[in-house]
């Protein structure tokens, strides 16, 4: 019935369509009517609220140790939140809830969401919590927001994520911590002195956080190299993909496509308004680099991996009714999403392969229906391995229990404004960037459906289907 109505309404002027929508909803029906440039059906489901992305912003993503070096994580998060307020003109007290992602925790601000929200001037009556799920932390923040709205508990939620790699918590050794904690409890001077006397040189060696799996003790780069080798991805393919990412990012940056980036006046420094990791090089330059993890015969290098990045992102998510009531013109619908997980050793970075067919199935779509793909590029080798896995019937049958492959996205629709390899990858901020980019690309390119997919440490993954909001 929806499609019949849709057909009859397609030629109507926009305003009347929206009026019709309101009318329809006010009659307490969840059938959602909308006009589309293409004849694809909408993904609205009966009994499920329409949830929209109103807007999304991010701070420029900078290589760690550069301009943001002296900040703290909540400073960056605050910048993104303030940026979102500025961009949307959202009244500060209109937000029901804030969910924020982070991976490497600054211990002083363990609930960074709350600290950043207070600092950004949100109402102190707006609760905030922090989520963590490795590289898909802000995806988790957004889907948490979707859940809150879908359950009818909130109407307007801000989600986002921050990562700050210029400073990471480096701890004293366990032995030293134990001594220091006992020192607190020691009552007499003698007891204190004997504890101090027990400190040995070995106590002083610090514990550094590693980008390594706790379960397998393997660093992610090492795993990526093995994954690339497992799928027979050559060094050349990886370098080519890395170069593609940088080239496309440069083009997007120069062409003003990266409109989600806000300017940020860094205290004591200049205004930052551009990502600084985009560096298109030549294939020869890339070929010169030595492998970074598996030596000497590995294929993953510093240039075909994402680099350590500082950055924060934020999005405003609302129920469609609320957005429209507040006079917003939403950018996209957030539709079905899935989380997946698999073997953290040999399939650590195959999240997109597992998540993509699952979320498509949920939405009743095929790969061909998708107009815009945004995949998180952890490593060029990881992307290529995922594309090969998605193209393999054998892999789908043997490891995913599926009858056939889902197929690999066509490259002309894939990460065409650059990706994590070139724009940078502040772990917990990337998810919002992917979703906002999909919304913007759908608007720009006139597509209807977009797909976000990402891998994450722990052998987990995520995918979400995004539908363009009728223009």
């Amino acid at each position: 019935m929806a499609s019949m109505l849709l057909t009859s309404l397609r030629s109507s002027p926009l305003t009347s369509v929206q009026a019709a929508q309101f009318a329809a909803r006010s009659l307490s029906t969840s059938v959602h009517l909308q006009a589309q440039a293409k004849s694809k059906k909408t993904l609205a489901k009966p009994g499920v609220k329409n949830i929209v992305l109103v807007d999304g912003v991010r701070t420029p993503f900078l290589q760690s140790g550069t301009t943001y070096a002296d900040l703290m994580p909540h400073d960056l998060a605050r910048a993104a939140l303030q940026g979102l307020l500025n961009r949307t003109g959202l009244p500060k007290d209109a937000v029901d809830y804030i969910v924020y992602g982070t991976v490497i925790q600054e211990v002083k601000t363990s609930n960074v969401a709350r600290e950043a929200a207070l600092g950004a001037g949100f109402s102190d009556k707006t609760p905030a919590h922090t989520v963590t799920m490795a590289c898909i932390s802000s995806n988790q923040a957004m889907t948490t927001a979707v859940g809150l709205i879908a359950a009818g508990q909130c109407d307007a939620v801000v989600a986002g994520g921050v990562e700050f790699m210029s400073d990471v918590p480096i701890r004293h050794s366990r032995k030293m911590r134990k001594t220091m904690l006992s020192l607190n409890k020691a009552k007499t001077l003698g007891a204190r002195l004997s504890l101090l006397g027990s400190i040995r040189l070995a106590h002083l060696s610090p514990e550094l956080p590693a980008v390594a799996e706790f379960s397998t003790a393997e660093t992610m780069g090492h795993s990526a190299d093995r994954l690339a080798a497992a799928f027979g991805v050559s060094r050349l393919e990886q370098d080519e993909f890395a170069l593609r990412s940088h080239t496309l990012a440069k083009k997007a940056q120069d062409g003003g496509m990266l409109s989600d980036v806000i300017s940020f006046k860094v205290p004591g420094r200049d205004i930052v308004s551009k990502d600084n990791g985009i560096r298109p090089a030549t294939m020869e330059q890339l070929a010169k680099l030595k492998p970074a993890f598996i030596k000497p015969h590995g294929t993953v290098t510093a240039a075909n991996s994402s680099f350590l990045t500082d950055g924060a992102s934020a999005v405003l998510i609302m129920s469609e009714e609320k957005a429209l009531a507040m006079g917003y013109k939403p950018k996209a619908y957030l539709r079905d999403f899935v989380y997946v997980s698999q073997d953290p050793k040999d399939q650590l970075l195959l999240g997109p392969t597992y998540a993509t067919p699952k979320v498509l199935e949920k939405s009743g779509l095929t790969l061909n229906d998708i107009d815009v793909f945004e995949f998180h590029e952890a490593f060029a080798g990881q992307i290529m391995a995922n594309l090969k896995a998605m193209e393999s019937d054998w892999f789908a049958q043997t490891y995913m229990g599926r009858k056939t492959k889902v197929g690999a996205p066509p490259m002309e629709k894939f990460n065409t404004w650059g990706g994590s390899l070139s724009l940078g990858h502040p772990f917990a901020a990337t998810g919002c960037r992917l979703v906002t980019t999909v919304a913007h690309r759908l608007q720009k390119e006139g597509g209807q459906y977009g797909l976000v997919a990402a891998c994450a440490a722990g052998g987990q993954g995520h995918a979400m289907v995004i539908e363009a909001y009728p223009q």
């Binding site: 093995r226 080798a229 015969h297």
Partner: protein, 747 residues
Amino acid sequence: MASVRLLVTRSGCTALKAITARTHVSYEVKDNVAVVRINDPTSKVNTLGRHMQAELVEVINEIWGNSAVKSAVLISSKPGSFIAGADLNMFQACKTAEEVSYLLQAGQKMFEQIEKSPIPFVAAINGSCLGGGLEFAIACQYRIATKSKKTILGTPEVMLGLLPGAGGTQRLPKMVGLPAAFDMMLTGRNIKADKAKKMGLVHQLVEPLGPGLKSAEERTIEYLEEVAVDFAKGLTGKKVTVEKKKGLMQKVQDFVMGLPPVRKQIYKTVHNKVMKQSKGLYPAPLKIIECVQTGIEKGNAAGYLSESENFGKLAMTSVSRALIGLFYGQVACKKNHFGQPEREVKKLAVLGAGLMGAGIAQVTIDKGVATILKDTTEEGLARGQQQVYKGLNDKTKKKSLTTFERDRIMSLLSGQLDYRGFENADMVIEAVFEDLSIKHKVVKEVEAVIPPHCIFATNTSALPIKDIAAASKRPEKLIGMHYFSPVDKMQLLEIITTSKTSKDTTASAVAVGLKQGKVIIVVGDGPGFYTTRCLAPMLAEAVRALQEGVGPKKLDSLTTGFGFPVGAATLADEVGIDVAAHVAEDLGKAFGTRFGGGNVEVLKMMVQKGFKGRKSGKGCYVYGAKSKEKKVNSGAEDILKSFKLTAPPAVSADEDIQYRLVSRFVNEAVLCLQEGILPDPVQGDIGAVFGLGFPPCLGGPFRFVDSYGADKLVQKMKHFEEAYGNQFTPCQLLLDHAKDSSKRFHK
């Protein structure tokens, strides 16, 4: 003897095929690199047999004749096996030492040619690279190994009473240094890939891959080949160097080893150590030292000659035959001869969290089977759970397990005090106190809660299974599983069937045991089954010897001097004097005076005084002190004095005492075969060696009778019989063998 892994095929003899179609070795040229692939189509592992060797020589000659080939890669197409060693059948078929030596010289020559090859050879190793396989690899110019758990390098020949006979004794010392080479060759230990890299045994490591567009195993071999081809090209282009930069320590060590007096001292020290450990009963280690020494001091030619000649001699020794017999026996006892059980055991319950129960639980969860560990008290349960945790945690310290894997394994263990979950159990193994009435109570309790298909196994070392089964409503589902302590270290499992035990129950018990990594013998029911029954008369004789004034230390040295890894007095302490007393009394009642000898009261008195063996801190010896030197327990000596017997001089020489102990063991073993408790001599030998520490160099009681001569043994026993009576009466089967020398237990 614990881990002979030199796997063997029976393929070598069928080597008379047309030369044109090569079946074991193939090669292709990729980018001027000849990739030589080894794959024995008749076996799961590759072995160097006549056929394989012939094809290899052919292929290598072709490669050398091909001017387009600039380097070569040697790789196996089998997942999990590079080359697992030489084909043992090839040597066993030889009649003389000279024949064996000749065979080896062909191998030596082939490897020497490879070593001196005009083009570099890269050995790409994935899986077992043992014995002849390792010797092949170290003849190559470069070695790359995968870090797979299956990749092991080593020279296990010594465990078969042999030596690395294809250049191993000559090349290894140069490659890894004298001390490490001796360690490898004299212990036969398996070396993992990363250790091998540190030692300088391999040049490069390759990480095993996960699944991609092919299975993980297949792709890993492909990847290994790709990497090896790259290195082979690098070697030709001089981009890769073979020589490793030597650290300061290495340089110092090399300098010191260059001094003849230092080397002499090393040979001497190693020789003494070997003599101390082997008591001179094993010729192979001494020959290994001799070969290494000859090679270093007199040059390669002399070294190779010494190696091949000594190998030939060793192959003809009874020790080597015994060890090889054990190896085959072990392989046979790692198979399920009772077929596939109807149901796989997916959930197991262990009753009693004592030393045994916890040990059984540990080896079960270790293999991924969910296990309930039930005890009656919280203290008992906590102790048992801690034992399991410690067992696994020790593995993480040795890095054979990650902490994560440890946690995953531990998650399969459910410690509890009640019978919750027993309704889903497929098998229950009880390891409660050895008391018939307690066992009966447990049988009844458990049978009330388990499902009909569930098997009830009882872990007992002496109680007849049919007596325990008397309390069962379903005796066809009841079986004995006799584990040895400590369960996670001892390889043997003795399974005992009663006349009522169903075949499927047996098949299932064997399947579980195999999963737990056990070497299994399946024997008939009776007091003491097989192992305990053999051990009891020997311990009775040991007590008599002690009463006759042979001190515990003397007794220990006599037994270890005969080849037992643990002396009789120490063994009694390890087993527990209380257990020994219990068993001696029970079996004494069952078998009468034949099991007499020492006075059971000696043991009882010791138990009364609290001398229960190692577990109580005192037995024949005093334990607990940190010093390594064990002290004899003077309290025990006093007891022995009060039971003093006069030693009959005619049968009390050292050798007499040794044979008194051994002949009673052997006679009882043969009697078990005669009575049908034992199904065959092979299981008898395996049970005695793996469960009781019967001298491995003798190959087990049955092989011992064959090699020593039944007639000679009967003679000795008759001599003892005159002094002591029916304890030394040879059984009928032994007499039959004595009468007819053509009768042998092993063909």
